[in-house]
Subunit: 211 residues, 4 copies
């Protein structure tokens, strides 16, 4: 399989692409050194030669797309100045990740980490930057405002990532993603109303009076 010599970088790229493809088409359970190597049109021993194992290859593939996404999404989020814009950016990010298969890739690996405890730490480490990503964006946009005080960045980030992961699983229930679309649309409609949450509740005494 595969004909003759190739550069190392080329082989590694083929393997990373093969890993992405197999993961998306057959799920983690259908992923093995053989299936990946077949997709990459490469000898299956090279999975071990270049990456040390199947899981390590999958993680390397995740790292590769994580880096791409971080760049791409970083730019998207940087333009947001208001909560509305931030929610809009989030919805755009979700759609991009869905279309490009990033969402599926991430889900598959996270799901694999649920079933294989030895993967958990690796995944946990790789999710952390994304939590920080959301945290920073929220802080930048709402820092110092009443909304920022009501909804602390850390909690918002955790909730956002939790929801993002859930979308992956929910796709099992919602194969055409229409329900998720509806939820996101709703979120878009609610965003301009977020600041209402910070108003005084009827029957709530004023802050100065309550102290």
């Amino acid at each position: 399989m595969g004909d003759g010599r190739r550069t190392s970088a080329e082989t590694r790229r083929r393997l990373l692409d093969g890993a992405d493809q197999v993961l998306r088409e057959h799920g983690y359970a259908g992923t093995s050194a053989r299936t990946i190597a077949a997709a990459a049109e490469v000898n299956s021993a090279l999975v071990f030669y270049h990456f040390g194992g199947v899981d390590q290859l999958l993680l390397a593939a995740l790292d590769r797309s994580s880096a791409e996404r971080m760049e791409l999404h970083g730019a998207t989020v940087a333009r947001a100045r208001t909560v509305e814009e931030l929610v809009e950016a989030a919805v755009r990010i979700y759609r991009t990740d869905l279309e490009r298969g990033y969402l599926a890739q991430f889900s598959e690996i996270v799901a694999a980490a649920v079933t294989k405890p030895e993967l958990r730490e690796a995944i946990s480490d790789r999710a952390e930057p994304w939590i920080a990503f959301v945290e920073e964006a929220w802080e930048r946009v709402t820092g110092g405002t009443p909304l920022g005080r009501l909804l602390p960045a850390r909690e918002v980030a955790n909730a956002a990532i939790t929801f993002y992961l859930g979308v992956n699983l929910f796709s099992v229930i919602d194969p055409d993603q229409s329900r998720t679309e509806e939820v996101l649309t709703l979120a878009g409609r609610l965003a301009p109303r977020a600041k209402l949450l910070t108003m005084r509740l009827p029957g709530q005494r004023s802050r100065s009076a309550s102290s």
Copy 2:
């Protein structure tokens, strides 16, 4: 293994218990007909005889605990009359599921369904009643109110289940569940403020005037 004859029902029960135990202790990846049968102290061919296969046994075990939970959680939710009480009930449900290991069990199977496309439909079918469950509760509590109009039951149910599924995966990143606790606590604090979302936005003309 096991001594002497047992009733069919007894054998099935042992297998279901074994499946639960192995799934929680070793994860889906460590689950096989042999490991389950060993935990159940039963011949492994009986997994096939009684359930037709490993995945089918796992699904049967899920059905069993789903029925238990439906009863238990139904009672919890029935008492809720306000949005605050409903969110409180949801938090209590989450904590119960976590403590009893339902959450872990559900996570493992849902994660397996992500990983093994052939399981997806089965999981989808089993999630549907829970979506209906949330939908009905929300409708009962908010039906006919402005909040009910702003947040339609269907979307709320989808969002709630998406989040619940996400919690399963997020457990990988949040092994002691403390981050999830924080998010739920925040939800509890926000619930009384939900009705604020229905207020008129500054600069928004009144409904009657806008038509």
Copy 3:
């Protein structure tokens, strides 16, 4: 491979026979679950099903022939009343083990234990009864005699087993076993002279006088 059903005992026997055969014909390095199963005309997974692994099967085969030999050689040695007869018995044992391939089998496994440390304990345990066997025979024949005092049973047993093991390796150098035969013949000729070793050395004072 193999046609249809067989009894468990029959399959186990075939595997043990196959293990013996492959070990003798191809050496430990040429021994694998596949080669043994092929020789046994049995599915190779049965090596694991019945014995748990290749090394365990080999050890079981060793145990089987050790039991046979212990019975056979025990009878041979029991008849010896003098050192001459004991040496004769030892030579007969050596020839029997050589002809029946026991010597080669034992050597292969002991040699494997040299190269694979994880086998050492198992082999050590299995050699111990043979050391005891020699020790008892020597003690029975020479106990209480001057020769017995000069050559303690424990040392004789260790030396005998060491030599026995060496013969295996020496067969590499002495493929037709003629050199080993000569050494054994010499041993037979020397045996009647063993008691001479206990005589007083010229210039050695008598025991009673020296104390």
Copy 4:
């Protein structure tokens, strides 16, 4: 691996050292082109370039230490004038080989030769000079004496090498070499008595009379 260019001789030396080290630390079963090359900090293809294969490298390493030992032990033995001194020298040789790891190295390779029939001839060839070595020493010390007639050099040499090889395997059963020590100590005590073996047996007629 390894930085920059090295001379051919240097590379060969590193590989020989690496082979020795890996063989002693991980046993023959843990020895591969890769592990040796790693220990030598050299590219693993050089094992083939310089030596043609792993076993050939191992044999070359054996040849190197055999040459060292031949020189060293030759000097030790040359000083022996009597059987007692010769046995003393033999014990000293054994202890030296043990301490310097020669014994372990030799054991591993000889054991491998038992295990892999294709190595046998190579080992046989390499043992021959040692047989000659013992033969010559024995002949020099006992030649023309009654003891020399009773115990011909050829048989003594074969027996000594057989025992030495056995010690290698016996190390599995006697990991701290204490039992072998005892046997050698006994040999040291017996040596002065060797000439007693040549005395006339009680009831044996005189040589001249018997002819």
